[in-house]
Each structure stands twice: as C-alpha cells, then as structure tokens.
Amino acid sequence: MEADTPRIEEYLESIYKLQQEQHPVSTSRLAEHLKLSAPSVSEMVKKLANKRLVNHTEKGVCLTDEGSKMAKRVVRRHRLSERLLTDILGYKWDEVHDEACRLEHAISPQMEERIARSLGNPKTCPHGHPIPDKDGVFLKEKVRRLSELKAKEKAIIVNVFEEDPKMLQYLASLGLIPDVSILVEEVAPFGGPLIVCVSGSRYALGREVASKIKVK
C-alpha cells in the first residue's frame, strides 16, 4: 500500500459525495469540504488526474470510472465500519462517524469481507444510507414519484426534491420527511391532487408537489 493511499481515498470519497450535489465538483468546494487550502487541493487533484482517477477540467473535477469504483469501496468500508461500531462494539449511532473515518483506510479487502459476513451483509449504515456491495454497486431500489402511486398504495419517502426552501420546511413541519411511511388514500383523476396519510394526519397534495416527493 502506498503511503499516500489514505489521502487519496479521502479525496475520492469527498469528490464522490460532493458529486451528488454538484457535477463536476469545483476545487474550491472540495477544499472547503476537506478543510484544506485551495493550492494544496489543486496540487493533489493534479496527482489524481495523473493516476487517471479523476478528470480535471476548467469547470472542476469528476471521478473516472476507476476513481468512482475506488470511492464506492471507501464508502462501503466506512459504512461497514459504522455498523461494526454500533452493532458489535455498542457505540451510539451519532458517535461513529469520526471513528469510521479512521477505520475505513485501515481495513484490507479480506477484513472487509469478514466484517460484512459476520454482520450478516447489512444493506444500510446506522444512519440509514445504503451500503454498496463489493463491486461498488448500490442495491437498486425501485424509487418512484409519489404522484405515480395509485389509491390505497403504501410507500416510504426517500427524498423530497423541492428547490424552494420554504416549501421544503413547510412539508417537513407537517412530517413529510425521508424515511416516513405514507399511504395514498385517494387520487383525483386527470392529474388532480392526492390525499395522503402521514403519521395520523391526512393531507391533500397537489400533483406538482407530489411529483417532487420520491418514494419506495
């Protein structure tokens, strides 16, 4: 193992996470996320580009296929470590993040598989995020829009894609937040609104609001 590996992994993991919100990722955002100075980040990015782990353009950085695969392996080891800490060692789930950040770079592929097996191949970390398999593939769940559901169908909210922060907060105050189960009670025809039940309350949601809520 190269001496540089933990640092490389840390970079790849960060770029991987930031790619979910910004693609490609600007080096300044990356520096902010890693709490490092911009010059040292751009130097490291150059190194990663030389290793063909990232593509570096004027707009920013994005992972190559190989870089992405490596990043997902780090994510897997991080989340498995968190599971190990909570399930076996009795940590609380809000204490495990920093420990897992250190462990993730120290675990060999063999140990990784042993941990996974002894934990019973968990599908999610203690925070509920999915753990990719050893080839870096996330278990695909059929995610649909709430607006696609039929009357009497039940689902769990995965995410709410609403750009307006006020609306997002309003929905949150009503209990429309990820991981909450939701029952569609009635659907008005011709693209009309839906009546849904969430934690004991009944709401009518317009179709455009419902289409921003992803469920599984």
Partner: protein
C-alpha cells in the same frame, strides 16, 4: 376595523393584568375557545402588508382583567407561510404572560410539534387537551397527568363546544403567569444537536437580540432568513452567522441531511415519542365514510355541482329578493326622511342634491349589496369552512384551477363572484400568495354578479331573446378561461402547489359561524361604506352640475365610433360604476326623457345589436365602486388600478369586436 398590530398589542398589554396568547394548529377548536372566553368586543389587527389577522379581546376572570390574543392557526412557528409568520411575530412582539396551546387530542403527535417550538421559545405555556370527547369516541385515552409531567407544563382537558374545562384552563394560566422565576424546560433534542445548539447559544448570549438565545440559536440552525438577517445586522453578527454555518455543516456531515430537516425530524421524533408514552396504540385514522364520498371523484363531483348550485341560487334568488325588499322599504321609509332633512338643512341647491346622492342613493347602494349578498355569502362560507367541506371542494377542483396558476381553494370565491364580487374578492384570502390573489381577483371581476345579470336579463333576454343572453355568458366564460391562462403565463412567479390538511367532518357550531360572519361583515362595512358614499357624491356632483353631459363628447369616438352605441348609453355606463344595475335603470330613464313615456321599450331607442353590445360591455368593464374599494384594500391601489385599466380595455376591445362581428354576419 383593522388596527396596526404593534399599537393594538401594546394597548391590550397596558390595559390588562395578564395577556394570554391562544395558539394551535388549524381546526383544533381554537376559535371556539376564543369565542367562549371573550364577548363581542373583539378587535382585529394586522401587520402591514399581511392579510392574516389577529383577533384581540379582553375578558374578566375573577378580579382580573385578561387580554386574549388569538393567533392564526398554523402547523408550526416558522416563517414559511403568512399564518406562521404572523403567529410568531405576535408572540415575539407581545411577549404574552402565558401561551395557551390548544392541542387536538385526536392527533396528539402532530399537535405537539408546534408546542415543542413554543417550548424552544422559552415562554410559559399551558396546554389544553381539546376535543377530548372526540378522542374518547375514537377510543383514544390520553394520560394527561403523564403528559403534563413529560412536557413540564400544566395540561387541562377541555371540550370547547360545551365550555368544559375552560375555567380550569384559565385558572392554570393565571397560576402560571404569577410564577415570576424563569422557567426551565427539560425537553431535549438528540445529544449532538443539543450540544451544537448550546455552542451557538453561548455565542449569542452576550448580545441582546430581543429573543431568548436558545430559540435564536435553533432558528439560525434552521436557516431562518428573518433571524439570520437580524443577527447579521448586529456588530459581530457576521462572525456568529459564520459559526452557525460551520455548525450546520458539521451536523449535515454527521447525519447526511440538512440541519433544518434534521431538527424537524428530531422534533417530530420527540413529539411522537411523547405522544406514544401517554396514549395507547392509536388505531390508524378511520376514514370518515360519508366524508370520503365528497372527495371520491364519482360521487364528489355531483355533490360539488349540487352545493355550488345551492350557493348560487341562494345568492341569486335569495339575495335578489332581499335586495329588492330592502330597496323598496328604503324608498318608502328612509329615503324621504334623509332627503327631507338634507334639503331642510342645506336647501335644495347643488349641495343638497349632491348630499342626497351620497346619503340616500349611496348608503342604499352599499346596503343593497351588503346585507343581501355579502352577509349571506359570509354565512355560507363560514359554514363550508367550519364543516371542512371547503377542503373537499379544493381537492376536486385543484386541477382546473392549476391552469390559472391557482389551486383548488380558489373555486369558492370564483363561484361566489356570481352573487357579488365584493365578498368573493375578500374570500381570496384563502390563497397564499399575492400572485394567486391578483389572478383570482381579476377573474372574479369578470364574473357577472347578480347586478350585471339583471342587466343582461333586463336588456338582452327581455328585448332580444334568451339565446343572445346565453351567448353573453358563454363569451364571459371563455374570457375568464383565456384571461386566467394568460395571466398565469405572463405574471412573474410560479403557482404554489396545494398542500392542505383534510380534517374529518365536524358539525359546525352556529354561534361560531354567526360570530365569524359578523366580524367579516363589519370589515366589509368599514371598507365599502365610505367609498360608496363619496363615490356617489362625486358622481352626483357631475350630474347635478351638468359636467356629466360634457363628458359625452370626448367619449363619443369610443362609444359611438368603436362600440356603435348612442352617446347617452356611454354615460349610463359611467353611472353603472356606482351600481351595475343602475346602467339599465338610467338607460330606461334617459330613453323616457328623450322619447317620452312610451320609450320603456328599449328597442325604440337601441337596436338589438346595440343592446347586446351594451350589456356585454357593462358586464366586463370596470367593476362597481364597492368592488374597487375592496380591490384597493385587499391588493393595494396599484394592482387595483391595473385591474380596472385591464377590464376597461378588455370591455372596449370585446365590445367593439362583437359589434363588428354582429354587423358583418347579420347576427341580430
């Protein structure tokens, strides 16, 4: 009458021993409790630019004078909607001695969410566990002693509809208000969120922001723009904001979701765990079978059509009957007295005559609209609101309204416009944004109210035939659709989606409905009367001094040239601004002046085509003064002028085109 909030809150605080704020989610029986606690002396106040109002009243309890502030019902204390903003602002401005939180015992977990926000604000709280009878019916038993222990506040079981428990509630509130030392709540979020809140709290503590540092700390972490701005303006403010952002990022990193969402989740979690500790397993809400019929498309639509037909015919026939009745009684009993007095005091010159225009014709105009149409409509609206049926209507019509950039709740005011535009425009308050209210109000001014219908029937249906009369309605319907779609396209902004609670059917309480109706009506009287009065005198002045006739010549290119109407008909249209049916009355009067008594038949005076165009223009162009008055008050004078200008242009355009089409195709 709407007072400014600051003044009204200060006054009520100054003149009473204690002030209590009533808070709660919508439809938990809060206004019933408010009505039970207070008498008729309620004042409403609003913050500049906000339409959601506060009700304030005083009451006597034992030897104490107590001020009660009825906060708007809302689901949370954020700033994401006007009701939330007003509720929060009022609590922060007034600093009530106690906040009385009304909880719905049938839906405890959701109701506790806002209670936890009040606890975060650090103000003394007493909770009323209301609707306890409904909860019992649904076999929900709540351990109120345990709830009180967990929350660290007094909890009183109440039934607002019978008044049970209310004395105890106020007694507990008074006891709580008398405790002088600072309250300490023991409710906490998760370990790391708490640590972070405290970290930020310490930074805030040395400064005075006029709000409890813990509350402010939470609101900064919740990304509340209003309080971020407040802190940012302060010296050292920027460094605190930076710190808040840093902490917020850490929380985000740890939990994989944004901090506001995390806090909302923890609050829900806390609310849910408290609720589950004090009540047994709550069976999932049984859907109200009959109520479900009103939202199911197959049965809901026929029910909706029926209800709208009842509203419409009630306003149309009932209102019309009342209006005629009032007018005739006024003419027999009141009018002679007013005229006699005015002429006696001011003589029968111009001044006397102008005053008669205002105090006789003007007040009658306001009354003839006000009592028959506005009052009855408010009554029906209050009934629909309190029963919860309004929400079913909104659900069913959301799709259609969406085409106009509105949502389902707009349908009731739009239909009500066919009775009278005035209450309909006030009714647009159910819409959240100014954009929606502007679109809805513009469409309402196009809807032929009963007065305009009288002109269509009296001029077109009677003298030309029923088919052209129906054609006018179809043209208007088409225009409403086009204007709605068009405004939605050109007006900046987007329509907000529909998010609305569907609460179970509750039998409305008559006293609540009557009070609600009365408060709204009082509001209408204060707005409309002065403007109708002075508008009448102004027009009267034009008429009495003869200036009116001079207006005929500048108008003639439009009236005669473009619309193809006789010039005098144009003048009657100006008068119709006072009351739309005046157009017809004046037309007949003028015809008789010019052609003698036999000219009651308008066809001696105008062709069928002219009568058609006349009625069409009268329907579309500028609404009556009472409508203009509410438009100005509800939307501001800039938007009101915009709507007036738009409708005049539209009327002239459509009237001219109709005139040409009829001529070209020899239609009439």
């Amino acid at each position: 009458m709407a007072l400014s909030c600051h003044g009204a809150l200060r006054e009520i605080k100054g003149s009473t021993d204690f002030t209590f704020a009533l808070a709660g989610n919508p439809n938990v029986g809060k206004s019933s409790i408010f009505n039970r606690l207070t008498g008729m002396g309620v004042v409403t106040a609003n913050y500049p630019g906000k339409t959601v109002e506060l009700n304030l009243a005083t009451t006597n309890f034992k030897e104490l004078r107590i001020g009660i502030i009825d906060l708007p019902g809302s689901y949370a204390l954020g700033a994401v909607s006007e009701d939330q903003w007003v509720a929060r602002r009022a609590v922060l401005d007034c600093k009530p001695d106690v906040a009385i939180m009304i909880l719905d015992a049938t839906n405890l977990a959701r109701n506790l969410y806002m209670l936890i926000q009040f606890i975060d604000l650090g103000i003394p709280i007493v909770a009323a566990l209301n609707l306890i009878d409904e909860a019992q019916k649904r076999k929900i038993i709540i351990d109120s002693v345990e709830l009180s222990r967990l929350l660290g506040i007094p909890v009183v079981k109440t039934i607002a509809t019978t008044g049970s428990g209310l004395d105890d509630l106020i007694q507990k509130a008074v006891d709580t208000a008398k405790i002088k030392e600072d309250i300490r709540y023991s409710l906490h979020y998760g370990e790391d969120i708490e640590t972070n809140i405290k970290k930020l709290e310490e930074k805030l503590r040395p400064h005075d922001f006029g709000i409890n540092p813990r509350a402010l700390s939470i609101m900064l972490l919740e990304d509340d723009t209003e309080f971020i701005d407040l802190v940012a303006k302060h010296v050292n403010g920027m460094s605190i904001i930076e710190e808040a952002k840093k902490i917020s990022r850490e929380i985000e990193e740890l939990h994989g979701e944004t901090t506001p969402l995390r806090i909302a989740r923890e609050r829900h979690g806390l609310a849910g765990s408290i609720a589950s500790q004090v009540q047994g397993d709550v069976a999932p809400m049984a859907s109200d079978k009959i109520w479900a019929l009103t939202t199911s498309p197959l049965t809901g639509m026929p029910i909706l059509v029926g209800v709208l037909a009842v509203i419409f015919s009630f306003l149309f026939y009932g209102g019309d009957w009342l209006s005629t009745f009032l007018s005739s009684k006024w003419a027999t009993y009141v009018s002679p007295v007013i005229d006699g007095t005015v002429f006696y005091v001011f003589g029968s010159g111009h001044i006397g005559k102008i005053l008669v225009w205002g105090f006789d014709a003007g007040i009658l105009a306001a009354l003839a609209v006000g009592i028959p149409y506005v009052l009855t409509f408010y009554f029906m609206l209050a009934f629909l609101e309190d029963s919860g049926y309004l929400n079913s209507v909104a659900f069913l019509t959301d799709r259609l309204m969406h085409k106009f950039g509105l949502h389902g709740r707009a349908i009731i005011p739009l239909v009500a416009g066919a009775g009278c535009n005035v209450p309909a425009i006030i009714g647009t308050r159910v819409l959240a944004t100014m954009r929606e209210r502007t679109i809805a109000s513009t469409l309402i001014t196009l809807v032929p109210c009963s007065a305009r219908t009288a002109v269509i029937l009296g001029a077109v249906s009677l003298f030309v035939g029923w088919k052209p009369a129906v054609a006018i309605y179809l043209i208007i319907l088409g225009l409403v659709f086009l204007v709605g779609v068009g405004l939605n396209k050109i007006m900046p902004g987007k329509s907000t989606g529909l998010v609305m609670e569907m609460f179970p059917f509750r039998a409305p309480i008559m006293s609540n409905i009557l009070k609600k109706t009365w408060y709204r009506f009082k509001d209408f009287v204060f707005v409309a009367f002065p403007i109708v009065l002075f508008g009448s005198m102004f027009l009267g002045g034009l008429y009495e001094t003869g200036y009116l006739w001079k207006l005929a010549s500048p108008l003639s290119p439009v009236v005669e040239g473009w619309l193809g109407l006789p010039a005098v008909a144009g003048l009657t249209l100006i008068f119709a601004v006072l009351r739309k049916e005046l157009a017809l009355q004046l037309l007949v009067t003028l015809a008789m002046v010019m052609y003698g008594g036999g000219a009651k038949n308008l066809l001696l005076f105008m062709t069928p085509a002219q009568l058609f165009v006349y009625a069409l223009v009268n329907t579309i162009y500028i609404p009556c003064v009472a409508t203009i008055a509410v438009l100005g008050r509800e939307l501001g004078w800039k938007r009101a002028s915009g709507i007036m200008f738009f409708t005049i242009t539209l009327a002239i355009l459509v009237g001219g085109i109709a005139s040409r089409l009829i001529g070209y195709f020899h239609l009439l």
